[in-house]
């Protein structure tokens, strides 16, 4: 096994340090987010940049305030984790989200998702997804309203600049996401637009190709463990394939993989080293669980998309997975006690 694998290998000494610390890890991921943000800006215009800037400002500001007041010395903005959570939260919002909600989501993501747990490394749930789930629970309508992309760079949906707790003066033209169309209207979107982008949906999930390339780059540079995304995507593909053959209840592997937030989640959230299991066996269980839950919620659930909930649910059982897959101590019996 290569020594540069970035997860905590629970094995006896000797070990070799790869020099891949928290700060470099976060920056490696942040660099690959540039093309994803650029794609979002290309398809959704200034609204994408505005929302991502809002969430990132909120997360970094909250992190700065809280680490400054914690009495642990310097602030911890330099490790880039707050910026990463902010950008990821921005990428999973609809393009018509009001800016004040994005700011609120960023604050909640850091406080509830990270600070109360004791900061980076202790949080058991992905901060960006905690913020997203909070917004979805608090403002279900705003977070499931989708506007069509490609209306000109400077065209903002009126709701984006709406004042807090107020409705926008005019309504934007809304449309359904590919998943919504498949689920509630039985129509499949052409695969080209799913792969290259241009479908309605959250900011970061529009182009499958960009996400796959970023994921490959991160995987080849060993920034994350390949088992987590591979297990997630394989399970989702297999399960949806089986369902398609068995009565056509699900829209098939290719559509399942390239639509919605599955790729965004598999590349950037399932691979979070903090909130996922430590052991290789645990990683397989985690990935399989996420893939299974995604297809389950998409096929039979009340919502069209379930990636966020699937990852949060598997985050919740990660302590149990870690415990069940604990490797036995060398020299002891077959079962560790």
């Amino acid at each position: 096994m290569s020594p540069s694998m970035p997860y905590l290998e629970i094995a006896p000494a000797p070990r070799v340090s790869s020099g891949l610390g928290t700060r470099r890890l976060m920056w490696e991921v942040l660099v690959t987010l540039i093309p994803v943000v650029a794609t979002a800006a290309y398809y959704f215009g200034a609204a994408a940049l505005l929302l991502i800037a809002a969430t990132t400002t909120a997360t970094m500001g909250t992190e700065w305030l809280l680490t400054r007041g914690s009495g642990k010395g310097s602030t911890r903005l330099g490790d880039g984790s707050a910026a990463l959570s902010g950008i990821l939260l921005g990428l999973c919002l609809p393009p018509s989200t009001p800016v004040w909600m994005a700011l609120l989501g960023g604050v909640v993501a850091i406080i509830l998702g990270k600070a109360v747990w004791g900061g980076l490394g202790f949080n058991l749930f992905n901060p960006a997804l905690v913020g997203r789930a909070f917004l979805q629970a608090a403002f279900p309508l705003a977070l499931t309203t989708w506007t069509a992309p490609q209306q000109g760079f400077w065209t903002l949906a009126p709701s984006v600049l709406a004042p807090p707790f107020m409705r926008a003066a005019t309504d934007a033209t809304t449309t359904a996401t590919p998943l919504g169309l498949a689920k509630f209207a039985g129509q499949l979107v052409a695969p080209e637009s799913l792969i290259f982008g241009g479908t309605a949906g959250s900011l970061g999930e529009t182009s499958a190709l960009v996400l796959i390339l970023c994921g490959l780059w991160l995987g080849l540079r060993r920034v994350f463990d390949w088992r987590l995304p591979v297990a997630t995507l394989l399970t989702a593909a297999l399960f949806s394939g089986v369902l398609q053959l068995w009565g056509g209840v699900a829209p098939g592997p290719l559509f399942t993989l390239s639509s919605g937030g599955l790729l965004l989640g598999a590349v950037y959230m399932v691979t979070d080293p903090v909130t996922t299991p430590l052991t290789p066996r645990g990683m397989w269980i985690f990935g399989v669980g996420v893939g299974f839950l995604v297809v389950l919620i998409r096929t039979w659930g009340g919502l069209a998309e379930g990636v966020m909930y699937a990852i949060l649910l598997m985050n919740a059982v990660t302590p149990l997975i870690n415990r069940l897959t604990q490797p036995r101590t060398f020299g002891t019996g077959m079962r560790s006690t």
């Binding site: 600070a115 109360v116 004791g118 839950l293 389950l296 039979w300 009340g302 649910l313 919740a316």
Partner: protein
């Protein structure tokens, strides 16, 4: 068969008694310090729930048609006596567990999840088999919630949780996040 499967899935996960209906919160926050205690309290609750379902079905079939005003009080009596029975059994069989559960074992009596179970089963008009499956599902769901909570709390014991939120506040934060995560199951299987 599909019907029973749906009842089980609904009671255990989709409408989880603790995380969706917010019933049985006292043991959820009180006995989830350690995973093994949580597992045992969960098993005891499953047992009490099954007995309650059986007893409430008997009551509903033979007694309550003659005296409907006795429903609530007779359910409470049934639950209290079942818990008493479980308590005596655990005391004899596993004194260590008896001590670990402490006050929370008799508190199963006042666990609203169990009275809720009996009332839900009556309101939805479940038969004997449906009622038992419902009780088993609810118990499994309750145990699942306890286990997840215990796992998270054991891990956050080792984390640097700030002194400001350590203890009860942190438990409520965790319960809130878990509840948000379980919202993903809302509406599952209703369309088909």
């Amino acid at each position: 068969m599909d019907d029973l499967l749906f009842i089980f899935a609904s009671a255990s996960v989709i409408n989880n008694f603790t995380l969706a209906y917010f019933l049985g919160l006292c043991p959820f926050l009180g006995v989830t310090g350690r995973i093994d205690t949580a597992l045992r309290l969960g098993s005891a609750t499953i047992f009490v729930m099954m007995i309650t379902a059986l007893a409430s079905w008997c009551l509903n079939t033979w007694v309550l048609p003659h005296a409907p005003y006795l429903r609530l009080i007779s359910f409470i009596v049934v639950i209290a006596s079942t818990v008493q029975f479980v308590e005596m059994a655990i005391r004899k069989l596993s004194p260590a567990l008896f001590r670990a559960l402490g006050i929370f074992l008799p508190l199963i009596t006042t666990n609203c999840a169990i009275l809720g179970l009996a009332l839900f089963a009556t309101n939805r008009g479940y038969g004997l088999v449906q009622g038992l499956v419902f009780a088993f599902g609810a118990g499994v769901g309750f145990t699942l919630a306890l286990l997840i909570m215990a796992g998270i709390r054991e891990e956050s014991e080792l984390a640097g949780v700030p002194a400001l939120v350590r203890g009860a506040a942190m438990s409520f934060f965790i319960a809130g996040i878990l509840s948000m995560a379980f919202m993903g199951f809302a509406g599952l299987f209703h369309g088909s």
